[in-house]
């Protein structure tokens, strides 16, 4: 029983970070209808930024988010402005290949700059934990979950209450109607990609104290982000939040009851089942 609770809790905590990754991807997909295969690489860039700030300027990883986030927002905006915007009307497989190419460029540039060594970012608290009734909870994971929660709430507020946030949602729901409202949809796309990048990078920053960093780290997160997004419903922010936590828990519990080796199968089978029986995702509205 305590193993179950232990797995459940660590699954939820790690799921929070997954949720951020998924939300970023879902915003990008929602607004642009482009599957971003470079999503994990954006996360990787966030990790390296955090690592760089930590080793060079001794800025705590959790604090450095305030620098990483806007920086990666600008980077994402740049990518959208000069690359993605050009293929918005192109064939889907060309869009996919473009983001794959961009991902290769990112990871290999980083490899040239930082070598392909694993970087470990060790803070005082990297391996500390709090214990509650025999259930141990990783302190950095707890902090990152708290930050994730704050960011997610802030994001909801942004999307629900501000004009720009609503305009992004409007663009996602009906691009042309949005133009008729005087919304500059190109700019919304740029903001959306910037936001997606910033969220992925933040997720990277948040796990860097407890994880490790290397140029190819992104690919497994890209796959994970796909699963999360489809699970929640492509384009649905709430769905991605739940999807992230669900995947975190499924991995964690699946690891205990099916063995670590099979837990990925559990995740992908879950993914396929959702695709088959609710292709619009758990919370997505079916679109025609």
């Amino acid at each position: 029983m305590s193993i179950f609770v232990q797995s459940l809790i660590s699954g939820i905590l790690i799921g929070g970070v997954y949720a951020l990754i998924g939300i970023g991807l879902t915003i990008i997909f929602g607004v642009m209808r482009v599957i971003n295969f470079a999503h994990g690489d954006l996360l990787m860039l966030g990790m390296y930024a955090t690592y760089f700030l930590f080793t060079q300027f001794h800025i705590d990883p959790f604090v450095s988010i305030v620098i990483t986030m806007p920086l990666m927002f600008l980077y994402g905006a740049f990518l959208q402005r000069f690359f993605i915007n050009r293929v918005l009307d192109a064939l889907p497989q060309n869009q996919i290949l473009l983001t794959i190419g961009l991902g290769l460029i990112m990871s290999n540039t980083v490899m040239l700059a930082f070598t392909s060594d694993y970087k470990i970012l060790s803070t005082r608290y990297s391996s500390s934990s709090v214990s509650l009734h025999g259930i141990s909870i990783s302190l950095p994971l707890l902090v990152s979950f708290a930050i994730t929660t704050v960011i997610t709430i802030a994001l909801y507020w942004f999307l629900l209450k501000t004009d720009t946030g609503q305009a992004i949602r409007a663009t996602a729901q009906d691009r042309e109607a949005a133009r008729l409202m005087g919304i500059n949809v190109k700019r919304m796309s740029i903001i959306a990609f910037g936001l997606g990048s910033a969220l992925a990078a933040t997720a990277g920053a948040l796990i860097s104290p407890t994880y490790y960093i290397f140029p190819q780290v992104g690919s497994s997160f890209t796959l994970k982000a796909f699963v999360i997004t489809v699970l929640g419903g492509m384009g649905s922010v709430i769905g991605a939040t739940l999807g992230g936590i669900l995947i975190g828990v499924a991995e964690s519990i699946g690891g205990v009851y099916f063995g670590s080796g099979w837990k990925e199968v559990v995740v992908f089978v879950l993914f396929l089942l959702v695709l088959l029986f609710r292709p619009s995702g758990l919370l997505g509205k079916s679109r025609t």
Partner: protein, 388 residues
Amino acid sequence: MRAKSSLIIALVLTLPSFVFAANAKVKIGFVNSITGPEAPIGESLTNGVTLAIEDLKKQGIDVDLIKEDDTGKPEKSMAAFEKLATSDHVGGVVGPYPSKCAAALAKLAEKYHVPIIIPVASKDDITRQGLQWTFRLSATTNDYATILLDMATAFGKPKTIAIINENTDFGTSGAKSAKEYAAKKHLTVVAEEAYAPGSPDYRSTLASIKGKNPDLVFMVSYVADAILLMRQSREIGLTPKAFLGAGAGFATEAFAKEQDISNNVFSSTQWTQDVKWPGTKEFAARYKAQFGKEASYHASTAYESMVIMGQTLAKAKDNPARAKDLLDKGSWNGIMGVVKFADYAGYTNQNNHQMLVEQIQNGQRVTVYPPAYVSGKKAVYPFPGWTK
């Protein structure tokens, strides 16, 4: 090409051979994972080779080194070897790192009659195929596990063992060896977990292992996951009598530096910085000075392989066939101890390398087993528990 090389052999045999002629020039191919997933370790190999080239130069051997990236993929490795053998006409090849690439190249070496020294790829099968042109310096995967269990049973009386390994070639075969050897040593395997590397969360796996309360926790993983596993073991309070790391990630500086979690962890290794083999200390110091980090056994095996290949080819006048004979018969004593490529126990041209066990004591990597190689500090056993 064959005709050409036999011509050279004829020439070599008829001429009086000047061994170690001043400024011998040799051409060596170095197949390595410069990019791709194996690149972090590839870098250690590159660094080791760089030092070897410097040392060979000091000995009057000019190495024309041709570096080839295999991106960690067998077919690219093959392409590299084909190029080295047929268009660059190298005298010998050192590398590659991943076992799957090494396995592919071993066959090519046989085909092209170009000797290859494999520094550290550890898959047992590579030197078990009776191949004459493939030489391996390092001990095999099997040995990573056996030395650790030998040590653990020598230090105490453990009864149970949990095996955690990453789901890779090295991890799986390491775990397999551990399981087989554990049976011989009358240890009960209470848990076997193979995980996919790269997951940020192993807590549930570790928690279920903790529930089984094993005496030994045996792990095979690369550095990143090694740190992660130990961090999370600490988090959930997994405290066996000993943490045994089968080389790779556990025998690295990066791991040792994480004192909170690395303290008192054992790791099997091909080489340590304080082992009493000739030149070890100097090599370690130079490496640190030049590359800003501690040398790993990957670097030292690559170094020694290159030195051996360089010297041999110089002697063989860059002639592959002659180099092969020299490798067969020769014996070296350098930073990897005595190296001799022998045929034994089903192996061909396999150096029967002595594995070591190091323990991390307050960030220092100390050789603690076998007793003959211990330089001073004693092993801490059993595991005294986590520092708060």
